[in-house]
């Protein structure tokens, strides 16, 4: 992307003023190298977002942004229901509430060295991963609706976790306003065998070591120290979320003319927040968020069982669980006034700063943990929300490294076995049902996560707390 299209605000902030049908600016947070490596479509998609009715404030683009569907991946925008604002199924995406949770283990690297292979194998056997895998939890209609209404709380009530887990999950693990009746029977049927499964693509479960601490005070508040082992799970709302996205995209595309909405891109399918379709989508999408919460909670339970078996001295407690494909009603300042806005984050992590009332008491003084997944074999990061995160980006930060190479090109460039062997030489065990899947997810197919995180840190979106290196990776 050509940086000449933007006004440079700082080394890591670039602004495009509205022109033509744009109603608000586009602000990109990234350094020059990251922006230059971004596809022009990122800019085009961000501009399209500013054309949508009722947008409140700029469309923000995170440092890991890449070409997405409708919204860029790494796009953040808020909409004002009082000004005809919209909710967009395309602005949330297919994998509703895809997210990351990180668990402490109470272990150090030496504790697992002798059993690392067996641990990897046990995790691989216990965690249903990849296409065609089936979960151990099969829900009939009443239980499905209960899960969609109560999220991780439902899972904990059925023995898949603890009350402490809920305190350390966004929304307390239960997204209010979920309407299971707005989720189609097809979506529920698609979910029936997928509850408690990891999925595939870029979803993973990793055992990681904390190899660097940047902010000791915040790290202490998060309970993280150099040498600690943690487990990170990255997955979302599985088939149910995908089906909700699919169905509402079409419904919103067909309904848009009736609402007087001209879509700059059909993938930006949307409906007024204050419309029957908008309310229906919000209810279904919130049920999708609860599905993702419950899914990650069940995977946590399965992980705990494996550790209890292999390493009984381990104590897996949740650090935090964050989602990165959502639309949430939040209070923000717009034109100097506090307003309730519908904030879409597509491939972007919420990053609440210190003192935010929605934060659990344990994080109130330091800000929300922002969990940034790397690509297979590369670092992951723990960041923390800053006081300025809200004014800079509606309290949002990046969510990962972001792809830089297509799957096809990656598959032509690497062989899965070669990737697995190279990572093994570095002490990283990869277990996956698909060699081609590993090639398509090769670390070289992603941007440099260090550059992305450094840009987010320098821009002030969130601050670096700790860096994690993978030891075991279960890929779907």
């Amino acid at each position: 992307m050509d940086t000449n299209r933007f006004t440079r605000i700082s080394d890591t902030a670039w602004r495009m003023e509205p022109s033509g049908s744009m109603q608000t600016p586009v602000i990109i947070y990234a350094d020059r190298e990251l922006i230059q490596a971004m596809d022009d479509k990122v800019c085009e998609q961000a501009i399209n977002v500013t054309v949508l009715p009722g947008i409140a404030g700029p469309c923000y683009v995170m440092p890991d942004a890449h070409w997405g569907y409708g919204f860029p991946i790494g796009g953040v925008a808020a909409f004002d229901a009082d000004k005809g604002g919209v909710v967009s199924a395309g602005g949330v995406g297919f994998d509703i509430s895809c997210g990351v949770r990180t668990l402490h283990t109470g272990l150090a690297r030496d504790d697992i060295e002798a059993v690392k292979q067996q641990l990897a194998e046990s995790l691989y056997q216990a965690i249903p991963a990849g296409l065609g895998s089936r979960g151990h939890v099969h829900l009939h209609d009443v239980e499905m609706d209960a899960m969609l209404r109560d999220g991780a709380r439902w899972a904990v009530e059925r023995g898949y976790g603890t009350a402490e887990d809920l305190e350390r999950t966004e929304e307390g693990g239960c997204m209010a306003g979920a309407l299971p009746d707005e989720v189609s029977q097809q979506a529920k049927k698609r979910q029936r065998s997928e509850t408690g499964t990891l999925g595939s693509g870029n979803h993973y479960l990793e055992v990681q070591e904390v190899i660097e601490v940047f902010d000791p005070e915040t790290a202490a508040a998060f309970g993280v120290a150099r040498g600690d082992l943690v487990v990170t799970i990255h997955c979302g709302s599985r088939g149910l979320g995908h089906q909700i996205g699919t169905e509402f995209l079409k419904r919103m595309v067909l309904a848009a003319p009736g609402y007087g909405i001209t879509l700059p891109d059909r993938e930006l399918a949307c409906a007024p927040i204050e419309s029957p379709l908008g309310r229906s989508y919000l209810g279904a999408m919130r049920a999708g968020i609860n599905c993702a919460f419950a899914n990650r909670q069940i995977l946590t339970h399965l992980t705990r069982q494996v550790f209890a078996d292999r390493l009984p001295q381990a104590n897996l407690t949740l650090l935090y669980d964050v989602s990165h494909n959502t639309c949430k009603l939040e209070e923000h300042s717009i034109d100097g006034k506090r307003k309730q806005l519908y904030v879409h984050r597509k491939g972007a992590t919420r990053a609440l700063g210190p003192g935010h009332p929605e934060l659990p008491a344990v994080f109130r003084d330091v800000g929300q943990p922002v969990l940034i997944g790397g690509s297979m074999g590369t670092s992951s990061y723990i960041l923390a929300g800053n006081e300025r995160s809200e004014e800079l980006s509606l309290a949002s930060a990046c969510h990962g490294a972001g792809r830089s190479m297509s799957r096809r090109k990656a598959y032509k460039t690497w062989r899965g076995r070669q990737v697995i062997d190279q990572l093994a030489e570095r002490g990283i065990i990869i277990r996956s049902p698909s060699s081609r899947g590993v090639a398509e997810e090769a670390p070289g197919a992603y941007k440099d996560v260090n550059a992305v995180v450094n840009a987010a840190h320098r821009a002030g979106l969130a601050r670096k707390v700790a860096r994690l290196a993978p030891l075991v990776c279960i890929k779907g």
């Binding site: 070409w67 997405g68 569907y69 994998d95 698609r190 995908h242 079409k250």
Partner: protein
């Protein structure tokens, strides 16, 4: 950078839809490895050819998910706004098929259904995996 694009060509729109369905399977597995042993029927309806194309792919994605199957043979008929298809495939065998990736949905990104200047039909879009 979106995940993966698929494209089908054919002498008729139905043939382009069929070839794109083969491309969809190829995202997951070599279509030649999928035996056409079981038959299912699909029906979808949409107001224009492009929306119908996405509906067709999403119907396949849905059937793959709920039946735990892969498909390799496709026969499509289109009458007005209605698509009817006979699809053949087999249950996923994780050991034999080694499926690469799960498809989440067909998107409206890079969506195009059109007859090209050479008379050949093109049907394409980006798939989210």
């Amino acid at each position: 950078m979106a995940d993966i694009g698929i494209r089908g060509y054919g002498e008729a729109m139905t043939a382009a839809f069929e070839q794109a369905a083969t491309a969809l399977t190829a995202v997951i597995v070599d279509p030649a490895a999928v035996s056409p042993t079981q038959e299912i029927r699909i029906r979808c309806e949409a107001p224009d050819a492009e929306l119908l194309f996405v509906d067709w792919l999403n119907a396949l994605i849905y059937e793959m998910a709920v039946r735990n199957m892969l498909f390799s043979r496709f026969s499509v008929r289109i009458t007005g706004a209605v698509l009817q298809a006979t699809v053949m495939g087999e249950p996923i065998d994780r050991q034999r098929h080694r499926p690469t990736v799960e498809v989440k949905g067909a998107t409206y990104t890079e969506l195009r259904v059109a007859r090209q200047n050479d008379g050949v039909w093109l049907a394409q879009c980006v798939i989210d995996v």
